[in-house]
Amino acid sequence: MASEADGTGGAGGYTAREMMVSAAAREIEDGDTAFVGMRLPLIAFQVAVSTHAPNAMSVFESGVVRDDPADGFLHTMCDLPNLDRAVSTTGMLDVMGRLARGDIDVGFLGGAEIDRYGNLNTTRVHAGDREIRLPGSGGACDIACMSDRTVILMAHEPRRFVERVEYVTSPGHGEGGDWREEQSVPGGGPSALVTSKATFGFDDGELYLRTVHPGEDADAVAADFPWDLRTREDVTGDPVGETAEPTDEALSLVREFDPDGFWTDD
């Protein structure tokens, strides 16, 4: 777990996915209970708990509860290193019950499509006339409905950004504004989107551009969206910022947890 930070977080020298993991890790606060699922969010939790959030806990829908990084690379949440020396290996009702009770501070989500209000689709999309079946929700819908806040990670590809998702697998802010409250959706909804080019916040339930990763252009990023994307400037008056680069410590940890770059190579 020792970091090998040398104090210089140089530009470049990391992949876009490493950048995403680093940005996602910063969305986990110390003491948070995080529903992290798999892939990049799982690595983000491992980075966070090894750095600024030593008291964070991770829960996994399969029934695993951990307070530290697994001692070994994980393809899935059920790989043996994630079970070994866990705090608890229990069942889904147990961990989903915590979610349903409102005890999960932050949940992580991905999606094939996202819309203006952070609704996600992982069920089916169209490519022209052809309907493509995707794997489905898994636990994503539950995490989206019931976490205090959610953080969404997606590859930055314009086809993923749509005015309205075809199927709401995981509700975000619905139609914006107080929609969640009106619909009795219990959790707080998306608080951030992290893509491979930028980070975004939500204001009144609507996505806005918060920071672009080093080397990316805010206007170009905004042009990837099929609607007139709001920016931090519109929301707070501050201009769109630059995403903080991964620290050397964070990078070193990412490479420890994913030594072959299985999840974090581009």
Binding site: L83, C145, T169
Partner: protein
């Protein structure tokens, strides 16, 4: 003497009627009963409805083998690689009907059956299109007046469960995460336990707090070491990650799946032969031992 329920995999699977609803993959990516699933495919027991939260690639394989006509699940794919190509092809080709769930709604549907009630309520799903799927009912809760989703019970004909050790009676120990295993065992009409090892009942009775699958719930016990490969089993063997990736590569088209299945399913006559084909050593190299627990009087 309580009944000895041990039998062979072939005999146990032959009890399953075509058209049955089978729950499997209940501990999510852990301890998936692949050996039992492959025997279903070999025997060609068709028109099955598959139930589970996710199943990693097990459901994809059964769909590819043509024995499933319906999936009631939250997710179907390949956890390492993303898509389950047979599943995609079958849905897109109209050969498979899917009832969309979330993981939690699968858990609640099984728990409803386990508790003998027609439904359980949840505040999950609200605001999603999953809540609008025809099996669910969105209503107002009579106590607090908020919207709520009623998840109807799913009582499978069979649940398949893979465990570390079971007695011939069917009483079993399973450790590591369990997902919806216990809900499904209680919900199902019949339970098939496949086990790394058949042990004396005394072993099970030495730790009754680890026993949550008991004989009245179990129809058949099959000793199937390595029976969850390529999924992992706590304390026994690791996940075979390369196998999942190779499966994805091999099954991008239907012919590819057929060739894969000819080699790994139809081309082996059981789990022993299958095991010999897996060259990687996945066994646990660094065991950690649970702290001592005593009972007594």
């Amino acid at each position: 003497m309580p009944a000895d329920k041990t039998t062979s995999m072939a005999e146990a699977i032959s009890r399953i009627d075509p058209g049955s609803t089978v729950a499997a993959g209940l501990a999510l990516e852990h301890a998936i009963p692949f050996a039992a699933g492959h025997e279903l495919a070999r025997q060609g027991i068709g028109d099955l409805t598959l139930v589970g939260p996710i199943s990693d690639v097990l459901f994809d394989q059964l769909v590819g083998a043509g024995v499933a006509s319906r999936v009631r699940a939250a997710w179907a794919g390949n956890v390492s690689a993303g898509s389950g190509y047979n599943f995609r092809r079958a849905v897109e080709g109209g050969d498979l009907s899917v009832e969309n769930h979330s993981n939690f709604s699968v858990a609640l549907a099984l728990q409803a059956a386990a508790l003998g009630v027609p439904y359980l309520p949840t505040r999950s799903l609200l605001g999603s299109d999953i809540a609008e799927e025809p099996q669910f009912r969105v209503t107002e809760d009579p106590f607090e007046g908020q919207r709520i989703v009623q998840v109807p019970a799913i009582a499978p004909d069979w649940a398949f469960v893979h465990v570390q050790r079971a007695a011939p009676t069917g009483d079993a120990h399973l450790w590591g995460n369990t997902g919806v295993t216990y809900q499904a065992v209680r919900a199902a009409e019949h339970v098939l336990v496949t086990t790394e090892e058949v042990v004396d009942l005394d072993v099970i009775k030495s730790d009754p707090s680890r026993t949550r699958i008991t004989r009245e719930q179990v129809d058949a016990v099959v000793e199937a070491p390595f029976g969850a490969h390529p999924s992992p089993v706590a304390g026994r063997y690791n996940r075979d990650n390369e196998y999942f990736l190779a499966y994805a590569d091999a099954t991008r088209d239907a012919d590819g799946f057929d060739a894969w299945a000819d080699e790994w399913v139809y081309g082996v006559n059981g789990r022993e032969e299958y095991r010999e084909k897996v060259e990687r050593d996945l066994s646990v190299q660094e065991p950690t031992t649970a702290a001592e627990v005593t009972y007594g009087k």
